[in-house]
Symmetry: C2
Subunit: 793 residues, 2 copies
Amino acid sequence: MPDLPDRPGDPCDEELAALDAHWRAANYLSAGQIYLLDNPLLTEPLRPEHIKPRLLGHWGTSPGLNLVHTHLNRVIKARDLDALCVWGPGHGGPAVLAGSWLDGSYGETYPDVGRDARGMARLFRQFSFPGGVPSHVAPETPGSVHEGGELGYSLAHAYGAALDNPGLLVACVIGDGEAETGPLAASWHSNKFLDPVHDGAVLPILHLNGYKISNPAVLARLPETELDRLLHGYGHHPLHVGGDDPRQVHRDLARAMDTALDHIAVIQRSARAEGVTDRPSWPVIVLRTPKGWTGPAEVDGTPVEGTWRAHQVPLSGVRDDRGHLRQLEQWLRSYRPGELFDAEGRPTPAVLACVPEGPRRLGANPHANGGLLLRELPLPPLERHAVTVDKPGATQHEPTRVLGDLLEDVMTRTAERRDFRLVGPDETASNRLQAVFRATDKAWQATTLPTDEHLGRHGRVMEVLSEHLCQGWLEGYLLTGRHGFFSCYEAFVHIVDSMVNQHIKWLKVSRTLPWRRPVASLNYLLTSHVWRQDHNGFSHQDPGFVDHVLNKSADVVRVYFPPDANTLLSVADHVLRSRDHVNVVVAGKQPGFDWLDLEQARAHCARGAGIWTWAGTEESGREPDVVLAAAGDVPTQEVLAAASLLRRHLPDLAVRVVNVVDIARLMPSGEHPHGMPDAEFDALFTRDKPVVFAYHGYPWLIHRLAYRRAVHGDLHVRGYKESGSTTTPFDMVVRNDLDRYRLVMDVIDRVPGLAVRAAAVRQTMADARTRHHAWVREHGTDLPEVADWTWDG
Amino acid sequence: MPDLPDRPGDPCDEELAALDAHWRAANYLSAGQIYLLDNPLLTEPLRPEHIKPRLLGHWGTSPGLNLVHTHLNRVIKARDLDALCVWGPGHGGPAVLAGSWLDGSYGETYPDVGRDARGMARLFRQFSFPGGVPSHVAPETPGSVHEGGELGYSLAHAYGAALDNPGLLVACVIGDGEAETGPLAASWHSNKFLDPVHDGAVLPILHLNGYKISNPAVLARLPETELDRLLHGYGHHPLHVGGDDPRQVHRDLARAMDTALDHIAVIQRSARAEGVTDRPSWPVIVLRTPKGWTGPAEVDGTPVEGTWRAHQVPLSGVRDDRGHLRQLEQWLRSYRPGELFDAEGRPTPAVLACVPEGPRRLGANPHANGGLLLRELPLPPLERHAVTVDKPGATQHEPTRVLGDLLEDVMTRTAERRDFRLVGPDETASNRLQAVFRATDKAWQATTLPTDEHLGRHGRVMEVLSEHLCQGWLEGYLLTGRHGFFSCYEAFVHIVDSMVNQHIKWLKVSRTLPWRRPVASLNYLLTSHVWRQDHNGFSHQDPGFVDHVLNKSADVVRVYFPPDANTLLSVADHVLRSRDHVNVVVAGKQPGFDWLDLEQARAHCARGAGIWTWAGTEESGREPDVVLAAAGDVPTQEVLAAASLLRRHLPDLAVRVVNVVDIARLMPSGEHPHGMPDAEFDALFTRDKPVVFAYHGYPWLIHRLAYRRAVHGDLHVRGYKESGSTTTPFDMVVRNDLDRYRLVMDVIDRVPGLAVRAAAVRQTMADARTRHHAWVREHGTDLPEVADWTWDG
């Protein structure tokens, strides 16, 4: 690369030297974390006992991350920027920890690991050490909202953080490995949804260090013209920086950052002051530096620096191989630690010259600890939106449409604050939440046509046909202290299984860190659910997300099955107020019966599970002969229809009807905070009566939750068993043996003595199923007696 | 769009008219499927009773799919192409069904739905009708290898189909909605892995119809220059076709297809005959046509054609609204069915003029029914690769490295046939399978550098940092009749949870279709598993994929936990021979003890679960006091260490050691084909003795599988309970209470009478755990007694 002439604003030689000092210090600290158990300042010759017994961590990406850290410090300080950085290659934990230790925020968060020799020794020792800190950027890392383990989500997180934060710059380092993932590839188009007026800026820094674990990276091997076309095609203007001469790279990177930030300032000024509405082309920095830069060039005659071999620990035999040990010492001393740290291990003024102050430091920006900024969501009184229910089962509503009215109200109440967003994959209206469009638009910065509806540059509903983007944006938004709601087709939320794993893990660990303040929960509305896929069929039927999340931390995960409109409102109100949870709410969008008025709904949801006395024979005062239980809206309807059939056909049978909203209530109290004590469970479900449980999802989940209960041997669960197709609603429940007739047969089969006495009733039920099969195949609709059924309580 | 002058090879007016006739016929048949229950040829005026009671399906994308079908027919016939089409917007099922009905393949597959009036009536009625066919492209659809329900995977499937099929053209229609998904966005770069010599060609057709369900599509709203840059950046050369004048679009699309196919022919000739190795720029067709083209322009005064309102059923009130009914009739008659079908409902010669013959038809290409082409995989005798085991626990191997030798052998034996591929996200070597690189390379068409290793233009190992691409490529490869293996970090296979859902569903349905021949199973090796994440920690720890897949069809899903190298070989041999399964194999890559020789391993794997007599006290002939069971390599080691401790400390305790390889053996025989009858289960686990079960994953899975067994009340399971970090291997098991000391304590706590008698032993175990905690935090390594432990049987 030719030496460039100075330009106004370019760093002078002295500043370049200081930047380099900071970078060398960070590189030294990064390598030290991987290798050193002792002798952190190399005050004595390196000996095997100074070396960690297990060498763990990722060196390869660390020098590049350190370089970015150094230069972000520079521009933050020079421009007094409010900035976050999302570290995509966060497996380079040593780098981010080094930067935070250097800016002092690490020692403020963890006073034992302060900015001196003792703290440095602890910083080194704790890294990837049992009882210490993880090898990746993690909740434990100050300044981060992004776990660096699983790749793919950095850019979506960055956009989520920037939304509704007009004064914020979110830098985002994207590794060339991560750039190959699907979620990241889709994330580039997030700029079509970023409002230059109300949102902050995202500055992607594509770090091409050439290699992944053992392969070249695809983007690193594109000719520059092809990569430029790609980035232009993504709506970005690329600025290239690269090389292996530190001085040159420092100057070029400083210049590129200045250019990018000037460009961003122009974009924002045009949009905000001049009302320009053209979608801007945002800058992106392409940074090409060698993998493992400044580390060993060769080890045992094999090239390491600049190759995939630098990915993790470039010198692995240090404790046993004197040559490796010597090479490590040379490497560490190449940073000239004596120039970087004083005798007490404190960074010298030159090293700290670029570091900003207070909350401007990347390790201390409050946006990265979003709970600090979180405000209570202004929720309306539910009475405004509750449906009137004079008696159970007399009226019908689309529950999600009722919820939409509530969400509209929240949107209206947050119109000025702009701290609430709704995300979904192109399904807000399909999921019947379109009332929100009376209060806001769908965010859209691309061109519009007269046939479009509800698109707006300042909208706060985010729709894109990518569950990954919805999830990533929302995570970034929540972790920076705002509120949100994700509505999704039930089957396709599995697309983000792995992302929600990581978010739950993040919250689980965050809850153990006193300095991390609680953030708003991640709330899912799963609708267009398994039982009503009339347009779609088998591929759209999957209720297994609940099973998936219930494997995760009980401190974090909550799952709700509101059976009607008012219970959905009550649950929504609860989850929107909650903190540090992942709440999964499963509710239908099709018209369904209203069972409870608002007061009853609130009481029922507060208990999480309860006897519906009006639906069974509780008034008789008799012990139940059988318990009919339901979780889910469609199962609730079938259970009530079954209860009604039992009342008609077997009037002397004592039937209890139990409804479960909060599925974790079924778990033992020692395993989930919402779990019921045995006595309470037994009071609901009995200890020894047959329980016929109609469940929304895979039936074995209920067994998994309840296997320790006294009644478990008498628990019979019906649910979805993968028998699906494009068919009618009632045919779906019949195919899966969840229908009212089958439930009545189950009762007859399980209540002692009933099999003989009620044989004729059983046959009537079997006949009804046969009649259904014939009818649906002939008419393509459900039996009139089913379609027109109403609760006759 | 200006009228273009004729060029040589352009279709003449007569041919254009015939193409239009085919397209109109397909459009007529598509609309007919959505609406008509009767009167298929409109031989009488349309009356409400001719209309389906439930109007379901997706019209919007259908005309565009039909257009592509028509024009693919043309070029297949003109060039005698061997071609498949992957229909990304396969929710437009009516279109693909129409094309297959028109080419006669539908009637050959389903003789009741032949190419006449009776067949047409059935085609219409069955669509989205109970007992009929799904609304999407599905396994039931002849000519398809791609379910059209969940969006995102079409292009990866297309590339998978093209690999090692040098004579095949795989067209792939990508909807503009699908194009927003992460997996699709990543799939564009698949061309960096496509070998122009040994692989076929993929022709992406990006169909921009402008709208998704209710929003404009991002790519449809890019300025054409920006879209072009994007596609060039993806490594493609775009050819644009668009408009709403059918004649013009027919001619332009014919021309674009000819240009694209000429271009592909040049690329292939250059690579194959001239040895050109530059990565080519492959053509892509960008097709812009109105959504719901030729459907109602307006309904009730609101624009429909060309807008999002055309997505599903554009006229919804047809049965009740006379105006809608009239409009539907006008719409259907606008295709002039009388010109398209004769009085018997047979398509006229003009309609069929473009349709190719026999297996060239898209609905009849054998690649789309890959089992027809599948050959037995030439597997070597396992004796070649088995490790010698003279006695249990005396030697150690890295199991996946031993597997790598087997896979190398398979690679060698398929070098000419080229019908076996290994896929993985950049982890083949990390997962210790690098022996395969002695037999083949990693597929790579981009530039190479001297520091690269094992990259080759003709390699059959596919590495890319995208689990989505690995999965999509492999699915496409398997469904077209080849074999493969996917090695993946255990935690990150969740990234493809939703894809594997759809593949299992595909296989489940395929198994019920006699004409779909069995295909090779999709085999996962999950390694770098939860217990050995030394470099990574909590984010990389997740054994829940097993739970996820076990929710799915028992006919399809198999899960294996081979405990050592030889059992892994035996399982691998089995799964590579199997058909129509999804096999999940969980095995470690770290050195582990060899327990069984090959013969024992084969017998043990054939049983799936068995008593390890040598490890317990079976020789004594006594009934066991306790059963120690394990599934998984690390749990097996801990169970054997516990058995050894029990032998030493409580020599008079009768201990049975059971090992489970095939986890479905635990299920009732009625619920899974591998499930054990109760008698067999009881013979292994007893009916009433305490069972301490050490399981690789989430412990409640074992309860879910075994809750109906007699011994269930005495079953105590240890497993992963989300207590993870970056730490030592033994610290991981201690944190999760799966360690040998804890297991011994569990035995003491559960065997009646032992609590008192063995109180001192219990304290010894508790002390060992305390000693561990102190040691690991001080030294960062495991206790020497653990690190140096060997089986002393």
